[in-house]
Symmetry: C2
Subunit: 472 residues, 2 copies
């Protein structure tokens, strides 16, 4: 059971694909153009709860030249174009709400150059983060951003993705050094450079990071890499309350422990893990820590955090440096999503994505927990607590529309709460179709107008992934 | 001896200030409006080598409401407006090339809120970085960005400033979480939030960071703070060549040492320091290191770096943890600028600001040194080597125009070289008037057109600091 795109994403302006455009695409790309139902359906949906909205055609690009050709043809015929990477977006980013062409970039997946001395790599947009790290294996470097899914780097750039490592390594905002994009009118904009910093004009790089395909098609990305840590250690600890857990994290950050990951898992999620993996973990709010550094450094970090956890009523602090012991400690977190789904057989999860100042996190989660207790739906919580970002997995029966509506009401209240506390409606998933209605409240109408003015300055006919982030 | 603004900054469109505007400003702000020559001259120049270009009037703002009023009046009369902070910009950013009103924000210098748990502070734009750190003294936190001058936070935001700490703590790009700006038409845009990350729409924050006053007047800034390190240690080491020094830094970064500062000073600059401070430092390429961390951590960092320096022919590695010993080691670097000026009595320094990928830094500096040997001007070099950013202080006799011309020729060649090596014409000073001519070569005409389109979308009449970054 999916549900239709919200009214904020009008589909009324959908027009049939001009036959001449299809002819031109077929002439240029042959078998790399498809209008088959299965292919269009695959490209008309993502991991969001929305019903698919199909593009009229799909083109598989192999090069930046291909992209320029497709963009030029879409411009010529005034047809929308939606870049497609791995299809793992979560908020309806890929849905062809106004029809048009889906431009599949997954076969543009080459590593163009690795510059180990500069800690940079330049890639095509279709490469996935796992494939990238595989390509980096012998360099002693890695690309840390890990949103969970094996997303494409282009998609991660377009949604400003982050994940569990962001507390230490930043998000795509900090890790994209430059990119090349084809604008709606076919001009090619090259932003940034391989220099680590620059004050040379407007930050077009950061403008494209998080623009969700609405400003142009990204054809090349230069990323910052990081040295693989000499040593990695992990720890877990349970707490009597969310407040104690968050207090531990705040103090950890305040004393300058360069923690690499710190994840919160609530009691319900732990219960699901116990059932799923036949474990007997204490069913209490739990923090999972990961430390990166030298052998001595990770030991020192773990000791500092253990002391802080103890002062905040943490219990059962356990830490490990051997890979197999780390895996054991983190297994619960790694399996949390699938374990949670088994709390309700046959369910699917609607996940929320707010992010608040960390000082507000305990209050935000605790108010949310109170709210969730009034719902009949199971709602385990996991969070990237060092960033103030948490996800509620609202488990719904896909055959019961009223449960989806209930999930949406819960999500609405979580977003309202986060905004009231100085936070954002989306920490890392992006706006897509699903968060559009919250944007004016978060930023104010003037800021949305400014975004819209920028969009129309670069794409006056609104051809690039139209109907996403805001309406034009 | 200064020199006129380059032709890229046309002054021909300068019109007299409408008397009705001056009347309205005086009615609203009384004695906080000035047309006195001394005040206008003070606001018509910066630390660049350009001749002053005076605004027609100066208004001293005390509040965001004042800013909105002045912007509205300038909009009403179609008159340019230039935000003014501490006057420490280096590339002509503040010059009123088309006349208009200089809006002095230096008295909008309050700390609006400190959120120690979130490691954030919200300030007005006129506060300087030193005053900010003074206000943070009892919090255990600090704001690390240090461009040398005691610049205003608004100005540092507008130029995307950085400095010696950027290798560890990032630049203004990474440390501005959000801001409020008044656009040319009086609309107020609030960007970002106090959440550490967000994927909610276009990154307007990063668009304003580095926009040099051309998109609007920044009235409020939320910054990221950092915990004061438990321990700080410093070290110095000399090297037979720039290549050896840079190799040491590359390896330091590659093994993941979280170095806080690493500064390069060339043999000529060391000679100037020896003369200035009556020291006998080895007149060789020298690195100055600073380490932040725990007591054990900084010791380990220094030992790792010492080993790497030794492998790269470093000599005389010396490190210190006591404040007085650290000061002694860093004195040479701290005094470098004034010491260098004494290489040529009565001179002034024209400083360059390129930044290249660190793998290119040794080659860039060495080619530059070869080039400089053909010049009669003394040209000591210092650099933020961890970022690939270096400054040549070209020492000229202010009474000899041919020396300024020679300095400009040297600068041009340094920029060409940096661009050829994948770098940028300005690592941290900004574009202002001085780097405008290099921007198309660095970014390409299409990217400059995109910047111009964004500028005109937000400021269609080109009233906000016109004639900077690019011409409209």
């Amino acid at each position: 059971m999916n549900h239709p795109a919200p009214p904020a994403a009008p589909t009324g302006t959908r027009r049939p694909l001009p036959p001449a455009l299809l002819d031109a695409l077929c002439a240029a790309f042959g078998e790399r153009v498809s209008t088959a139902d299965a292919v269009r359906t695959h490209h008309g949906r993502d991991e969001s709860p929305f019903d698919p909205q199909l593009p009229d055609a799909v083109v598989f690009a192999h090069s930046a030249d291909d992209v320029r050709q497709v963009v030029a043809l879409c411009a010529l015929y005034g047809v929308p174009l939606i870049p497609y990477g791995a299809g793992s977006s979560l908020e309806g980013h890929l849905l062809a709400v106004r029809g048009g062409v889906s431009l599949d970039l997954s076969e543009m997946n080459r590593v163009l150059s690795i510059n180990a001395e500069d800690l940079t790599v330049t890639v095509e947009p279709g490469i996935t983060r796992k494939a990238l790290n595989e390509a980096l294996r012998d360099t002693g470097l890695f690309f840390p951003i890990d949103p969970g899914a094996d997303a494409s780097i282009g998609g991660m750039t377009a949604t400003r993705a982050s994940g569990t490592n962001a507390v230490r390594y930043g998000t795509m905002r900090e890790n994209v050094l430059g990119l090349t994009a084809v604008l709606a009118d076919g001009r090619v904009v090259k932003t940034g450079s391989r220099a680590r910093k620059s004050s040379a004009g407007y930050d077009l790089t950061r403008l494209f990071v998080g623009s969700e395909g609405t400003l142009g098609v990204i054809t090349e990305i230069t990323l910052r890499l990081h040295p693989l840590p000499e040593a990695v250690s992990a720890a877990t600890c349970t707490f009597p309350s969310m407040g104690d857990a968050v207090r531990t994290v705040i103090e950890t950050i305040q004393i300058g422990v360069p923690i690499a990951r710190v994840e919160f898992v609530d009691a319900l999620a732990i219960r699901s893990i116990n059932r799923h993996s036949n474990l007997t973990l204490a069913e209490a709010p739990t923090l999972f820590f990961e430390f990166h550094g030298t052998e001595a450094g990770v030991k020192e970090q773990a000791e500092l955090v253990e002391a802080l956890a103890g002062q905040n009523h943490g219990q059962g602090f356990e830490w490990a440096t051997r890979p197999e012991d780390r895996s054991r400690l983190w297994a619960a977190r790694h399996n949390a999503f699938f374990a949670m789904l088994q709390l309700k057989p046959g369910c699917r999860a609607v996940t929320t994505d707010v992010c608040v100042p960390i000082s507000q996190l305990a209050a935000c989660v605790e108010e949310t927990e109170t709210d969730l207790r009034a719902s009949s739906l199971p709602c385990p919580i996991v969070g990237h607590v060092g960033d103030g970002n948490f996800h509620v997995a609202i488990l719904i029966d896909p055959d019961r529309p009223e449960e989806l509506e209930e999930a949406e009401r819960i999500n609405d209240r979580i977003v309202e709460r986060a905004l009231r506390m100085g936070g954002t409606c989306t920490g890392e998933h992006g706006v897509g179709l699903h968060k559009m209605r919250f944007l004016p409240k978060e930023h104010g109408d003037d800021a949305i107008d400014a975004m819209r003015a920028i969009k129309l300055a670069l794409d006056p006919r609104n051809l690039m992934n139209p109907g996403k982030i805001f309406t034009c």
